[in-house]
Amino acid sequence: MSDLAIRVEELSKRYTIRLPGSQHDTLRDTLADLGSRLFKRTWQPSGSTSERGHSKFDQFWALKDVSFEIKQGEVVGIIGRNGAGKSTLLKILSRITMPTEGRAEIHGRVGSLLEVGTGFHPDLTGRENIYFNGAILGMKGAEISRKFDEIVSFAEIDKFVDMPVKRYSSGMYVRLAFAVAAHLEPEILIVDEVLAVGDGLFQKKCLSKMQDVGQQGRTVLFVSHSMPAITRLCEHAILLDSGTVVKKGPSHDVVSTYLTAGLGTTAIREWTDPARAPGGEIARLRAVRVREQGGRIADTIDIREPVSVEMEYDVLKPGYMLMPYFQFYNEEGVVAFSAHDLDPNWRRRPRPVGRYVSRVQVPGNLLSEGTMFVGACLDTIDPVIVQFYLLDLVAFQVIEKQHGESARGDYAGKMGGIVRPLLNWTTQFIPDSHLETDASRAQADAEPQAPSVRS
């Protein structure tokens, strides 16, 4: 039975925004405004409409009645659109800003990573910045000294540690900043999208480090816009929208809700009213569905498993040969592939009037991690008349769990590519006597031995 790490009860944060024109950042302006208002009051008694009934202040709730509990050792993702309140929540839990209402109970030492490299001074050397940055993050001097070598080697700046940081390349800078923060050992770690910096190699390091932290039994709160990172690292997630908790639970559930709510597409799209069904005179589309291996409608698919997509359509006029096809593309709109109906039963065969369901099965270990969008299209053949060409109809998430045989193998970093096929590898080993003797001779030179016997 694990203990509580964080309990949040009805946490709310209100910001007061002054409307433009009435904002005063300087004492001078504040006093001047006071003076002019006094002036107006004496010269223009009641009836003046300039400021009456016109509120200078606008209030908005960045967070409203947010409640949740996080147990020790859990890795929880916080997702939501920009402006949903994620950063505000982290700031409050990190004690940088105070809530307007509600409370939060924290059990354990908190380490916050809201930005990488906070407190770095360009004139100080890498060594000096490690100490200062570590201290500001909450580490004691002795702790920093103890971990110093580890930090330097994690950041790969061994030769440059005594150079002023302003001479570092941006990559070195970011690596060093993350290296210091990565060696914080708080009981509760709060991380805000810091994995969005650096190159692919570096991101791989960050990800593995985050996984280590989670495995060590520390509680982690992780904000990110990368759904693959969230589903990979976090068992649970919390979805925020406009300051309130929309959903909390297992991460892929919450991620699906986030995606479908934002896009307006689901894993199933149906047109029950024939008059509204999209299409031409020959065929009309009635439904598109995504199913997982067992046949159930699913918006989340394991990367290793096959997924099938089907389109249900009505053929209204007989005698035409039809070509249904799907287009699969990713979040960036890049087409992964299109799949044309090759069912031998109906290929180049004129179709009678009726209801059809054409289904394609995409094998497992082909698609890449991330969101996959599907468009459904149907043309007649000879002549080609487009009946419907509809993109962005349905979407599903391809996720990867940590264990299991996928094309990823033992690699923990980011894998690019629109597809991720699991391919066959072979390795040929040729023992080479020349290489062997060279190698053993090199070894003999390195170690002083008794005179060797000539062969």
């Binding site: 203990d3 509580l4 309990r7 910001y15 950042d25 300087t26 004492l27 001078r28 504040t30 700031k91 409050i92 839990l93 990190s94 004690r95 940088i96 800003t97 105070m98 809530p99 307007t100 209402e101 509600g102 409370r103 939060a104 109970e105 924290i106 059990h107 354990g108 030492r109 908190v110 916050s112 809201l114 930005e115 906070t118 407190g119 001074h121 004139d123 100080l124 000096e128 100490y131 200062f132 201290a135 500001i136 993050l137 909450g138 004691k140 001097g141 002023p164």
Partner: protein, 274 residues
């Protein structure tokens, strides 16, 4: 159910000084000061020299203008050493006040991204310039030798006056640094404030020049007590005005308490307003 390590909720208390947190973060104070000192002297040519040049140059100018031209008396002491003894704490005070008053705004990034007791910022601002005392003091000793004067036991009372100067700078900057977060033009008032304060303190003239009826009002300035104290401790002037020093000390205490309360209240909104 285990008690939480800490609870986050809207703070409705009038005053809440989190001493345990300050103690927990004491090493950070050391690092803040260490960093400021390092940064100050990096890539400089004169380095430590600046700690000496400023009071020295001021002394030269004051000796010429106030000692020679205006012929202001100096309590029977040679004007240069009379002025320098006062410039020692004064240079420290003006530097401490200037630094600490903008300390919070200077670290906007830290305030927005990391939690630590914000009180450490003005505190580090007044601690950092203490380092400059050492070389300046060295120069002073050289001057004493030059004038053939010997320090007496009263020298050991110096730390008390340094402490009062520190606390004065700290308490005023608690007000100023908190205000500066919201109203940025406060920082422009500081050089002006320091200038006025210089003339309100017995740096270029002896306190004996101040008419009796004004003495009480005058002694509300804590730096009056500090400067008098320094002159007494270093130059062994007869009968320092202990009444002045007592008033100074109580003013400092009042300012400090008020400053702590004000800073503490404003602290909660720093991250939102900065």
């Amino acid at each position: 159910m285990k008690a939480p390590s800490h609870v986050i909720q809207p703070d409705t208390s009038l005053f809440h000084l989190d001493l345990p947190a300050l103690w927990h973060y004491r090493e950070l104070l050391y690092f803040l000061v260490w960093r400021d000192i390092k940064v100050r002297y990096k890539q400089t040519v004169l380095g430590v020299g600046w700690a000496i040049i400023q009071p020295l140059m001021m002394m030269v100018v004051f000796t010429l203008v106030f000692g020679r031209f205006a012929k202001i008396p100096s309590d029977g002491l040679p004007y240069p050493i009379f002025a320098f003894a006062a410039l020692l704490p004064w240079t420290y005070f003006s530097e401490a006040l200037s630094r600490a008053s903008i300390s919070v705004v200077n670290e906007t990034n830290l305030v927005q991204k990391i939690y630590f007791p914000r009180l450490l910022l003005p505190i580090s601002g007044v601690v950092t310039p203490l380092v400059d005392f050492v070389p300046a003091f060295g120069v002073f000793l050289v001057m004493m030798i030059w004038y053939g004067m010997l320090p007496s036991w009263s020298v050991f009372a110096l730390p008390i006056f340094v402490l009062i100067a520190l606390l004065t700078a700290l308490s005023v900057s608690l007000w100023l640094s908190a205000l500066n977060v919201k109203y940025r033009d406060v920082k422009h008032t500081i050089p002006f404030l320091v200038q006025l304060w210089l003339y309100a303190s017995p740096v270029v003239y002896p306190i004996s020049l101040v008419p009796q009826e004004w003495r009480v009002l005058y002694s509300l300035n804590p730096m009056a007590g500090v400067v008098e104290g320094f002159r007494w401790a270093l130059l062994n002037k007869e009968s320092p005005d202990f009444a002045v020093m007592a008033v100074s000390a109580s003013v400092v205490v009042a300012l400090l308490v008020g400053g702590l309360v004000f800073f503490n209240r404003m602290e909660q909104t720093f991250a939102d307003v900065i």
